[in-house]
């Protein structure tokens, strides 16, 4: 009996031959010209359906049949090994499933970048040898010094530097454990008053920030130590490395997902997410600073003081690292203002 009409291509010439395909006793049979072709059903390779396209059967000898008669093709129930593709086709063609997929895709993509990438970055950061991380930090610092020309050599006197180094050491000795760090002095230039933690425990503090903190000489180092305590919080949790890894992984996830690079729109949310978890890191660094300052007998109000000075100075200018991703400085310094002054003396 005739099952459907199809275009037959023999694989040698490009001309289409219209044939009547019939099914007989587990064999597919059709006649073109004088010739009769018979194929065992099990030897056929029916292609997975894509949308409403013509259905295709690949023949074992390199020929192919193409038919518009989708219903007849489906009735054939060819022994396709690809159950997977059939399920896929059903998924793609039912409005309900498409909507479910849409919601799931948004949730999965969001969850991946929001939770998956940070966890992965943390794991990789843990697995990264300290030596490698220090090397990375040195590269970054060298790039900031030379390639980008952010910094110039510090103009602080040796004495001033030594007093800061000594105070930081004293602060560190009062901590149950202090992460390994290296303090670098630089002139900030266009970056201005700033302090930052690079991978590998390298902390950079600019002359401008030190000058800004130098209001009342007796307490001046308190404000500097307060800022460095915040940076040490970043060092302790290896935030710089994690942040670098997160940026790289988010980019990789997006490239892997879309497969092509024309997804500007897909990139934007990732940037926004990035801001979000760096805020969480800032909170961790703040908590670390608050607790450690109290342990070191330094009034936490020093941190509030330097932040307010920075905020005042930053109006209209660049934001230093300690203020970044915190639109509301006031809410942030409140715990430091409210904190009890330590009973001990630094």
């Amino acid at each position: 009996m005739t099952v459907f009409r199809a275009d037959y291509f023999d694989g040698i010439t490009a001309g289409a031959k219209v044939v009547e395909v019939s099914l007989l006793d587990q064999h597919l049979r059709f006649v073109h010209g004088e010739q009769e072709e018979t194929f065992l059903l099990a030897a056929l390779r029916p292609q997975a359906a894509v949308g409403s396209a013509r259905r295709v059967i690949e023949l074992p000898d390199g020929g192919r049949l193409e038919t518009e008669d989708v219903a007849a093709f489906d009735r054939l129930r060819l022994p396709s090994a690809d159950r997977f593709w059939r399920r896929l086709h059903m998924l793609e063609n039912h409005l309900g499933w498409v909507l479910v997929s849409l919601v799931l895709a948004i949730l999965a993509g969001w969850g991946m970048i929001r939770y998956g990438v940070p966890v992965l970055a943390e794991q990789v950061a843990h697995a990264t040898p300290v030596r490698v991380e220090i090397k990375l930090g040195e590269q970054v610092l060298a790039a900031m010094d030379h390639q980008y020309g952010y910094f110039r050599p510090s103009t602080l006197t040796e004495q001033r530097r030594a007093s800061i180094v000594a105070d930081l050491k004293a602060y560190c000795l009062k901590q149950p454990q202090c992460p390994a760090y290296r303090l670098e002095f630089r002139q900030g230039g266009s970056i201005g008053a700033n302090a930052m933690a690079l991978p590998g425990g390298i902390m950079v503090i600019t002359d401008e920030l030190i000058a800004l903190a130098q209001g009342n000489p007796a307490e001046s180092n308190h404000e500097i130590i307060a800022v460095l305590a915040h940076e040490l919080g970043h060092v302790e949790r290896r935030h710089a490395l994690r942040q670098t890894l997160q940026g790289t992984f988010s980019g990789l996830v997006l490239v892997a997902l879309t497969g092509d690079f024309d997804s500007l729109a897909a990139g934007l949310p990732a940037v926004l997410m990035q801001m979000n978890y760096s805020r969480q890191m800032e909170n961790e660094a703040d908590q670390y600073a608050l607790a450690s300052l109290q342990r070191a007998c330094i009034p936490p109000q020093a941190f509030a003081g330097i932040l307010q000075k920075l905020q005042k100075q930053a109006e209209g200018g660049n934001l230093p690292e300690v203020l970044s991703s915190h639109p509301d400085t006031q809410a942030r310094i409140q715990p430091f203002v409210d904190a009890e002054k330590p009973a001990c003396k630094a």
Binding site: N93, V98, S101, A105, A108, G109, V253, L257, L319
Partner: protein, 343 residues
Amino acid sequence: MNGENQTPVVFTGKTSEYFGIWIVNLLLSILTLGIYSAWAKVRRKKYFYQHTFIDGVAFDYHASPIAILKGRAIAFALFVLYSVSSNISPAFSGILIIAFIIFLPWIIVRSLVFNARNSSHRGLRFDFTGKAWQAAKLYLFMPLLIIVTFGLIYPFISQRRNQFLMQGHRFGLSQMRAEFKVSGFYVAYLQAFLLSIALIGIGGVATILISQDGLKGLTTNNPSAIVPFILVYVVMLTISSAFLRSRLVNMIWNGTSIDHIGFKSTLRARSLVWLYVSNLLAIVFSLGLLTPWAHVRTVKYHADNMALLGEVDFDHFVGEKKAEIKSTGEEIGEMFDVDLAFG
């Protein structure tokens, strides 16, 4: 032009249908951490190929997802190796870059071969016969002359590259022929250059207007404040590249033939600019959800503006012997698929 001798290219894809394929691709790619993206690519290409008809018969795409996945895994591994090493050992990453440059012509040719051999029409496969040394000349050595000539040689290089791309393709046993006028490329690039200059002027004014409140946002370190700037810049870039593309694609197809069949491409710069800019804005403001719509209408526009000239008697085209088809089918286990575009 004799209407009887023109055969249109017809694209029958629909956004409503493709949206399902696109979203399922996206979902499964996310859930499998990107592994499914190789299957997704096959699915997407198959959809567009199988809905593009010439004289009532569509194209087909045959690539094996596993081959694509292998290629992507290698590319991914190399990328990770490179990004890690560039931070730790610049010397090693330098070696990687040099190795990549040396292999680039080979990769270009392999990816063209991969794509061509996995594409078919009417039961005949395409093929690409260009050689790696030709690619090396066009993609490595000639670009060195760009610096010496202050870029003046670029249209010439573009003409040679496109001739290489088109001439290298075969349908069955029939080789494509391509003959483009160098002067045409120079005119197109000059016009695009002048257009860019004009747009940069307009863009400058637009940036100043936006910056009234935009700059304030920038200084408070709000990264989203930079979005309008990027958007203006991207729109300008889109306009000039759409203009250039319309001119080049028309020239390329109109100068290409295969056996007794010629091609006629009638892209219009204005329509293409509108198509690209509206696509871009739709994608950005729908947060990517209109991507399938943009994709479908772009392909439809290109198909609508393409026709075959001459008697389309496909019986003239022949392929290899049936037995040999099998063997070429095996050897395409190669996996480089880099997408090359005109330009």
